[in-house]
Subunit: 193 residues, 2 copies
Amino acid sequence: MIDDFKDYLRLQTDLSEEDIQHICGLAIQRKIRRNEFLLREGEVCRHKIFIVKGMLRTFGMTPDGGEHILQFSTEENWTLDVESYDNQTPARCNISAVEPSEVLLWAKADFQNLLATLPQLKYFSELLIARNIYSSRQRMLTILSASPEEKYEDFVNYYPGLLSRLPLRMIAGYLGISLKTLNRVRHAQLVRH
Amino acid sequence: MIDDFKDYLRLQTDLSEEDIQHICGLAIQRKIRRNEFLLREGEVCRHKIFIVKGMLRTFGMTPDGGEHILQFSTEENWTLDVESYDNQTPARCNISAVEPSEVLLWAKADFQNLLATLPQLKYFSELLIARNIYSSRQRMLTILSASPEEKYEDFVNYYPGLLSRLPLRMIAGYLGISLKTLNRVRHAQLVRH
C-alpha cells in the first residue's frame, strides 16, 4: 500500500527519496470496510487521509438518515474535515467508505511538522488546496444554476468512472436532488438515446 | 479610503507600520458605480480586490441573463476569481458592484511580491483562504440539504445586515431558488409572525 503512495509522490512532487521515506515513515496504514466510518459528525478530525484504494465519501446527515454528499474521494486523493482538523473543533461532516478501502493516515502534529520542514510538500499541499477551491466554486455554480438534467450530465461527464461504483441514492445525495428525480432523469436519457 | 484599510490591517494582523505602508503604497484606489463590473466572464482576473465601502457580488450568468451568485463581498472583505487569478486563465465569473463602492486593487505581481516578502501577510492570507473554505463547505451542505424555507432562514440569520441592501432577485440567485419561490417563502413567514 505504501509503495503506491511513494509512486504518487514521485510523480506529483519534487520531493527527494529521503523526504518521501520520512513522510511514509509517519503514515498509519488502515484497511476499512464498506460503510466503516473514519470520522463521525461531532468528533474531532485528527488525521489527514490519503486514499490508496477504494472510495470514501464526506457527507452531512439529515435527521431522517438522508445523506448530503460534499465529496467522493477516490484513489490518489486526500480528504479530511478541514475546519475540524485545522481548529480541532467538532466535525460537521462524516467520512465513511463507499467501498472496502485502503488508506494512509497522518496525525495532525506529524503532518504539520512535515509541512513546516518540507517546502516542496507545503507547495504541493497549497496546490491541492487551490485545486479544491476551484472545483468547489465550479460545483457551487452548477448546483445553483443547473437543472437536474444538467447536473446529472455534468456528473457523468466529470466523473465517468464513478457512475458504476456508486449507488444511485449517493449520486442523488451529491447532486442535491431526490432519488425520484434522478430516476426520472436517467429514464428520460435512456429513452432518448 | 486607504486609512480604513490601514486600520483593518492593524486590527487583523501583526504587520509593522512600515509593512502596512508598503502594502498600501502598491494599492490602486477605485470608486465604482452600482452595477459597474470589475471583472467579466472570459476576462483574466489580474487584481486582488479589497472592499473598503459598498458591496460587490461574484456571479455566473445564464444565457437568459439570470444570475447565480457565488458570493456577496461587503466592507472589509477580499474578493477575486481565484482560479483565473492564480492561473491567468479566462474567468468563469463576473464581479460587479451591488452598491456604489470603494475598492483597493493590487496587481497580481505586486501582491505576489508582498506575500513572498511579508510572512505575516502570507499567514493572514492563508487564514482568510481557510475561512473561505470552511464557509464554502457549510454553504454547500446547506444548498444540498435545506428546503427553500431553511435556506432563506439561514441567510437571514447569517447575513442579517444584507437583507435590506439586496434586491430580492439577488437573494434568490444566491440561494439557488426562483424569485417566485423566494416570494412564497417570505410571504408565508410574514403571515406566520
